[in-house]
């Protein structure tokens, strides 16, 4: 159920708005059950047609000027058709809109505090064996099967699960897994992105000597004037490859920020580059190649995961994900963001190969929330709000008419498409729209000073400071940084982070029978100063995690890595890796999608698993270099003992199951598979068949 207590951030009332509007809204909610239908309350009250106030003659939805004036004053002017009255109404409406826009809205969403969550009796749990647990932990934390040496050490008692967990939590595979995990949380989709990677395109052309030379597209005709001749070419170490010099036409290679012929021109700006007087600058930084765009996007998609990576590696508070005044850039982002920020002139040592590093930003920043990446991929306030709700408050925005009716709004929440645009109320004025926008537009207020290229505006429309306050959990927050701080400090954030991690480890979000555990885990997480690695350590020790029934299906990345560890062969289907081609059937992710990973079992999943097993096993046994065949000659028929040795080794590697836990039925089954196929086609195919059965079985896919 929804907690409608004002302590949870509902905005109740304005200083000044006709009570009749609130009353009428309440009437609408009570009398008319249909969620999205317009009503004729006002039309009947004022004895006019709906289209007097609404764009839609049937009523409802956006209001025209007369309707907005009615919203603002409660008065339907009888003289409304007169030109001077129209002007007057316009002025009143504009002032009213500014007042509306300046009124902090409530950030509204459905949230039940932890201590009010539904509970159910916890079932009894049966622990899985240590070796099965090791397989599970390794796949969850490292996205790979455990190292055979670790398995042997565990079986021999030379190590323990807890020791291995500690080692895993500080491994490169863990950080790789967590970067992928955080990429899923932020889920950067393809943005509306019409900015080039720098200011002017640079292309390779055929020089007069027949060899390729680089020339700025802003200096067309340079080659005709001899500046691309061999004697004129300049060797430059470009930002995209600082280790190799490339030949560049003379004028293109110019690094002058201000041309001597016109010092007012700044070559590090779009206008300067369009002047026809400018070269490409130091290391050609003011110019971009045609393939830079996709590479920039690829780097942008990693930024959120890299922020999380830094936090985890350094055991910093996980809240910095939404509060930090720093971010992580590689050389490519440094270059591209300088372009967006208008700082290309200051970038004299650009190098896209530069590794990821921490970059300090200003006090208005707030972790992932204010990164160029996040603002661009979720390119308007509503998309930004939707993603923020999902990623950090675990709230999925859906049309919620009940919530709409429970809130006493005196006017729709205003929304601004850009810091320099006027605020508007009309999009939210229809019920069908307001059912979502009540949630989205309240939250997006804190972002109103940011545009979708990561630029911050102190002042906006009308030359006044852009209002950016909202009410979050009963407290006013002014802007993105304040919202981030309040969010990070809240139980909501800690609970959401725990819930997402729980889903990663168990395949489901917290259930009612896990409520007590959930409260403990969240309390512990907060008490540890939001130490995420500690939370992971705690969760994998729980009875629920270690229960024999904690089953999940393997996903694309787990297949790719584990099969690579076992077989060391590529799986190509056409021109692509097979798990990339069939990604959607095996829980993979295309980040252009809105939906998250689909982890459900399906016939298509089973077909991909079987096809991969059959083809990769065939390729691996042909190649004979596969780890599974270490010490085995696949052309020789093994005796029974040798065959059992291979079966035992394979069980250990694929299922992490020692020989004494391999059932007699399985031993017979695999012997039979091998011998039958060997009798038909020889020992090598016998190994292929065993491998196929092993990797296409349900107990390989589920862990």
């Amino acid at each position: 159920m929804v907690d409608m207590d004002p302590g949870f951030g509902l905005h109740k009332g304005l200083q000044e708005c006709p009570a009749i509007v609130s009353f009428a809204l309440a009437i609408i909610a009570l009398v008319f059950g249909s969620p999205a239908r317009a009503t004729e309350v006002y039309a009947k009250r004022e004895d006019v047609a709906c289209e007097t106030c609404h764009d839609n003659p049937a009523g409802g939805g956006p209001r025209n000027l007369v309707g907005l004036y009615y919203d603002a004053t409660g008065v339907l002017r009888p003289d409304r058709a007169q030109d001077d009255v129209v002007d007057e109404m316009g002025n009143v409406v504009q002032q009213w809109l500014q007042k509306v826009a300046a009124t902090p809205p409530g950030i509204v969403w459905r949230y039940t505090p932890l201590d009010e969550l539904e509970t159910a009796p916890a079932p009894s749990y049966s622990p899985v064996s240590d070796t099965a647990l090791l397989r599970r932990i390794s796949l969850d934390l490292r996205s790979d099967l455990p190292d055979p040496a670790d398995v042997q050490a565990l079986i021999a008692g030379r190590t323990s699960i807890d020791s291995l967990v500690d080692a895993y939590l500080d491994s490169k595979d863990f950080y790789w897994t967590m970067r992928l995990y955080h990429r899923d949380i932020v889920r950067p989709r393809t943005g509306i992105f019409n900015q080039s990677a720098s200011l002017t395109r640079i292309s390779r052309i055929d020089g007069p000597d027949g060899k390729k030379v680089w020339r700025s597209n802003g200096l067309m005709g340079e080659e005709d004037r001899g500046f691309c001749d061999a004697a004129q070419q300049v060797s430059v170490f470009p930002y995209w490859d600082r280790s190799s010099a490339v030949p560049v036409c003379a004028r293109t290679a110019s690094t002058h920020r201000h041309p001597a012929s016109d010092p007012s021109i700044d070559c590090a700006t779009t206008e300067g580059q369009q002047s026809g007087y400018c070269g490409c600058g130091p290391h050609l930084v003011w110019c971009y190649r045609s393939d830079d765009y996709d590479r920039v996007k690829k780097s942008m998609r990693q930024e959120g995961g890299r922020i999380a990576d830094y936090i985890l590696r350094n055991d910093r508070s996980y809240t910095e994900l939404v509060t930090a005044d720093w971010t992580m850039w590689n050389g490519r982002l440094e270059h591209f963001y300088a372009r967006l920020d208008g700082n290309l002139g200051e970038l004299t040592d650009a190098n896209v190969e530069r590794s990821w590093r921490r970059v300090e930003r200003g006090p208005e920043h707030s972790g992932v929330l204010s990164t160029h990446m996040y603002l661009n991929y979720f390119y308007n306030g509503r998309r930004w709000a939707q993603r923020t709700f999902e990623s950090f408050l675990c709230h999925e925005t859906v049309p919620d008419f009940e919530l709409l009716d429970e809130i006493d709004l005196e006017h729709p929440i205003s929304y601004r498409t850009h810091p320099e645009a006027m605020a508007d109320v009309n999009v939210n004025s229809g019920r069908a729209c307001a059912a979502c926008h009540l949630q989205l537009d309240g939250l997006s207020r804190v972002k109103d000073r940011w545009d979708n290229f990561g630029q911050y505006y102190e002042t906006g429309y009308g030359g006044v400071p852009v209002p950016q306050s909202a009410i979050f959990l009963g407290e006013e927050v002014d802007g993105l940084a304040a919202f981030g701080d309040a969010l990070g400090a809240s139980e909501v954030f800690a609970d959401c982070a725990a819930n997402q991690l729980w889903e990663h480890l168990t395949g489901h979000r917290f259930r009612p029978e896990e409520t007590r555990l959930r409260r403990e885990l969240v309390a512990g997480f907060i008490a540890s100063d939001h130490n995420f690695r500690e939370l992971v350590r705690t969760m994998v020790k729980t009875e629920v995690y270690r229960d024999v029934g904690n089953l999940k299906t393997m996903e694309r990345e787990l297949y790719q890595r584990s099969l690579d560890s076992l077989l060391s062969v590529e799986w190509d289907v056409g021109s692509r890796d097979g798990f990339d081609r069939y990604y959607d059937k095996v829980g993979g992710m295309d980040y252009r999608r809105i939906e998250s990973r689909d982890r459900t079992a399906s016939p298509a999943y089973a077909m991909v698993q079987y096809k991969a097993a059959a083809e990769m096993c065939s390729g691996a046994m042909e190649a004979s270099q596969t780890p599974l065949l270490a010490g085995v000659d696949p052309t020789e028929s093994p005796d029974d003992a040798r065959l059992d040795g291979v079966i035992g080794d394979w069980f250990l590697r694929t299922y992490v199951r020692p020989w004494d836990r391999v059932t007699e039925a399985d031993r017979r089954l695999f012997r039979e598979v091998f011998r039958k196929v060997e009798a038909r086609e020889g020992a090598r195919q016998g190994y292929m068949a065993m491998c196929t059965v092993m990797l296409a079985s349900e107990d390989f896919a589920l862990y």
């Binding site: 764009d55 019409n194 498409t417 939906e595 079992a601 089954l669």
Partner: protein, 439 residues
């Protein structure tokens, strides 16, 4: 195995693999001799086939069923001379590719979308309901149809809608899970592994069945284990039935290319998938389409009309392909198929501040083929929007805005689809079908 023994199956697979490398001119396509070799030519199993073609992102219906001239708050993307007349109705330029099939077509106008955000509108379009938070969407119309008419098929519910899924299982059993595949070559590749293990499948499948049964028994309390085992068994049935043959024995695409629609494009490959999947009786319910129609800014809107026209050309090519093939009773495959074309909502009639068009709740849907109340020599048009493109109420029983008229919603639309299959929609949707659409 069916009548096709293993030897013939493997020969066919080898031939088809060889055939894939031959130039098109060396292979007959859609010719009668080849078709008589196809078991599906005489043995179509389903009484009714459905094709759902969705243009996801929101389409500008003024280019289709609601043409307008330029006016205040009305910004069509074409000249008045591009509007044409057919069957007494004025139509937008993107409808031109469908003229040759308008005899068998009905258009529903004035549909009101009750959600204007993409995902919820998409769910609404195909399920009739919103999706609840943290829940899977309800079963879509395709899954309901697959349950009612497709259970004999290993793959009853085929879908080429990867990026913007519009087919959902809901709480139906895994057998009806939408099988997402974008083209016939992928289906062929997925339905059989390359390499020598295909020859050993009797041994492999026997072993896998035993192992999976043991695992499911050991985890009898766990739904995932049971679902997984069932899914794996269905996958094996695909392999062991004549499905592999059906998925492999397809002809190269041969529809007439246009400037917009090339055979080797993803839209062209979808056309091929739809026609061949029905011709080879692979699945009775097929979903296709694409998701590039959102057009809020000038860049996207500049491309929008071309994208819609290409989609209509694809639909026309699907209808052409189905109409070309005749079964033993003389009927064409189009006579056995209903094609449904829709988008989740439309676009505002005027240009916005970004040079594009935002979302709009007036919508339209097109229906062609079996069960559709066509008009010989004309076009069946039901419902309408007013001059400002606001949807108008309609009486579902009469098809007119008379007494009993109400908003036309997705529930009416989906109920009409079921009614076209002769299925009582009352068990599935709260609203009645629009009778005027139904033959």
């Amino acid at each position: 195995m069916t009548a096709f023994d293993r030897r013939r199956l493997l020969q066919s697979l080898a031939l088809s693999a060889l055939g894939a490398g031959l130039p098109a001119c060396e292979r007959s396509s859609y010719d009668s001799q080849h078709l008589e070799d196809t078991p599906s030519f005489t043995q179509q199993r389903a009484p009714h086939y459905f094709v759902f073609y969705f243009l996801m992102g929101g389409w500008d219906i003024t280019t289709l069923s609601e043409p307008r001239r330029k006016a205040a708050k009305m910004s069509p993307s074409y000249a008045p001379s591009d509007i044409f007349e057919h069957g007494g109705h004025l139509l937008g330029p993107s409808m031109k590719p469908l003229v040759r099939h308008m005899d068998q077509m009905a258009v529903l106008r004035g549909l009101r979308a009750t959600a204007l955000n993409h995902p919820q509108a998409r769910f609404q379009l195909v399920t009739g309901t919103f999706k609840e938070p943290r829940q899977a969407p309800a079963a879509s119309i395709q899954t309901r149809l697959a349950d009612l008419i497709g259970r004999d098929y290993p793959i009853p519910n085929l879908s080429a809608d990867g990026l913007r899924p519009a087919t959902f299982l809901g709480d139906y059993d895994p057998h009806l899970e939408p099988f997402r595949i974008g083209e016939m070559w992928s289906l062929r590749g997925l339905s059989r592994p390359r390499g020598p293990m295909i020859e050993q499948e009797d041994i492999l499948f026997d072993a896998l069945r035993k192992r999976d049964a043991a695992f499911a028994e050991a985890h009898a309390k766990h739904a995932l284990a049971a679902d997984f085992a069932k899914s794996a068994e269905l996958a094996r049935q695909v392999a062991e039935s004549d499905y592999r043959w059906r998925a492999s024995e397809f002809v190269e695409p041969r529809f007439t290319e246009t400037r917009n629609l090339e055979r080797n494009s993803r839209w062209g490959r979808q056309v091929h998938l739809v026609v061949e999947a029905i011709r080879n009786d692979i699945s009775p319910i097929i979903t296709a389409g694409s998701g590039e129609f959102d057009a809020h800014n000038s860049n996207d809107y500049g491309y929008h009309r071309k994208a819609i026209t290409r989609a209509m050309e694809a639909v026309a090519a699907i209808c052409d392909g189905l109409a070309e093939h005749r079964t033993a009773d003389g009927a064409s495959l189009l006579d056995r198929t209903t094609v449904v074309v829709a988008s989740e909502f439309s676009r505002q009639p005027w240009i916005n501040e970004l040079g594009g068009k935002h979302h709009w709740d007036a919508n339209t849907a097109l229906f062609l083929g079996k069960g559709v109340n066509g008009t010989k020599g004309g076009l069946t048009m039901v419902g309408e929007c007013d001059e400002q493109l606001f949807p108008q109420p309609l009486n579902p029983a009469t098809g007119k805005p008379d007494r009993g008229a109400d908003d036309v919603t997705n529930a009416h639309f989906l109920a009409s689809v079921l009614a076209m299959a002769g299925i009582d929609p009352g068990l599935h949707f709260e609203q009645p079908p629009i009778q005027a659409l139904i033959a």
